[in-house]
Symmetry: C2
Subunit: 361 residues, 2 copies
Amino acid sequence: MDTAASDTFLSESSSEPASHTSLEPPKKVAILMLNLGGPDTLDAVEPFLYNLFSDPDIFKLPLSFLLQKPLALAISKARSPKVRNSYHEIGGGSPILRLTQEQARNLEATLKEYFNLDAKVYLGMRYWKPFTEHAIREMQQDGVTEAIVLPLYPQYSVTTTGSSMNEVKRWMEKLNYHPQLSVIPPFFDHPAYKASIAEIIQDGLDSHDWGCEKKDVTVLFSAHSLPKKFVIKNKDPYPEQIMATCRTVMQEYFPNQLWELAYQSKVGNLVWLGPQTDGILHYFSATSVDNILMVPISFVSDHLETLFEIDLEYIPLAHQLGLKHVVRSPGLNSRPTFIKTLAKLVKTQLDNKAVPTMMVS
Amino acid sequence: MDTAASDTFLSESSSEPASHTSLEPPKKVAILMLNLGGPDTLDAVEPFLYNLFSDPDIFKLPLSFLLQKPLALAISKARSPKVRNSYHEIGGGSPILRLTQEQARNLEATLKEYFNLDAKVYLGMRYWKPFTEHAIREMQQDGVTEAIVLPLYPQYSVTTTGSSMNEVKRWMEKLNYHPQLSVIPPFFDHPAYKASIAEIIQDGLDSHDWGCEKKDVTVLFSAHSLPKKFVIKNKDPYPEQIMATCRTVMQEYFPNQLWELAYQSKVGNLVWLGPQTDGILHYFSATSVDNILMVPISFVSDHLETLFEIDLEYIPLAHQLGLKHVVRSPGLNSRPTFIKTLAKLVKTQLDNKAVPTMMVS
């Protein structure tokens, strides 16, 4: 595997601090980091689901001004027991807050170390605490007038980055607070991000005693699915950006490896982006494929979809189907190459957009 | 549906003939048209299969110099009864020769009518008569020194265009005949080709009394599959070009229509490009989809894969699965918009590549 991306990062960045003299005050940057959030306790499952199903960017119901909230209440009540049980299986709650907070702290440290930037990360989750509202209020109290926005979604979707940005705008409107925002674009094709995905693939390949040579293991990317009607209606670039990440990572790092992209987590009876992850496992069981490395894509930290669905549903299913070796790659979490990717995104955004650095009180 | 493409064609082309004065001799162009070919009788099925399995561009067997031909013989003997029966079901042979000859005649007429070009098409099939060898020999006898090559594959694959071009080169070498060739590039994204695909979709939508509004019919493109290992090893652009055609046709002509791309005709137990057409029909039967328009893609005329597999296997399967309305779009064949597409490709190639026109004796 080519690790040139991270080396380049180090050599580029090591020359940066030299430009700052000791007479300058340390630069301060406000970063608004956005993510989905997840219930931290089992009792938080139902209100978390209610928030999710209340999101008008995801569920546009007929007569939504009238029915959105009652329907969200009904759906979250109905789905809560099953989802609660899933969170119970992975330890009683989502690790997303802890993992995202770690990413935030590591990002601050990396920006300081490599770019001499004093950054403060404001963490705004979409569906659970700390809510986006909380982050915006904190920025307002700190007197932040300009901020870099970092949506933790490498691939853009109306349902993730789009929904979070709408929530940011709603709260800024409501609080009559209008800082200048510079939003980091989707980084699905950023070389450093792709290098970090290549690393988790290599780690996955190295972590197991396969029944074949590593080069003969089939890489199965699994991304969160979406209803196709939604994708088409909203011209959502999500599936194309997902495919672009997978294809270019494989072409650049593992050009001769067999790979496939599937989509997981479909619910209901609409047509969703496919092929479905479980369907592909059935398909593999009818073919010459026996050794599979599952690589979660579209998320940047461990979550219910990896810890429960992949580890406790898909992999046991694959074994039942007779597939011999089925292993999951680790999540990105606070892997140094990934944190450096985030730092580089912030630095590039500051340089390119000429957003002045700012003091945070 | 927007029919601007064909109108543009007419208005552009109508101004062309004016540039030729009566003093000029009529221009003559040699066109080498390449296609797959198919057995014209049931007795031709086995030797046709033998030619297919002997193709080193498709099947690279270990010790191929020794084993290619005996293995091809064994495989074609083994598969012949099943395939022979399929051809029996569609009338005792492949219609591909008749349909391709019609396309050739219509292309000649269209080039004359719109561009005042006297063209002679030499038809070279890859696996059955008239063989590529035959076309090359005829060109040599006619004293052709320069020719436009038109592979009838809108999307490039090593297994189709690539194999045919290799066959052309082999025969030219063998016959010590070296005319200047100008090869028309893959036209998967040509506006006129996309307009012709949009037409067959619209025709399919208009041809049936659906159980819903036409805009709610799901469009299911079905393309010929290939082993994924082959695609990855050869960096075959085929699946990306197939996807590009489907996506842009739908975006440009039917932006709100639900659609899916699947792959058909897999044999053996390797992993092939997916999802499989039959798998998607199973999937649709478990969803809210009831009305499906199947659109053959990657072929430009009716053939075993549409007339037998789609019409006599997939559609009956879909009905068995409880899908209510399942209809196939017509093939492109000699549809005027498609023939004009071919004429425009030839004309553009002549203009861009500055290949001089030539006399054919």
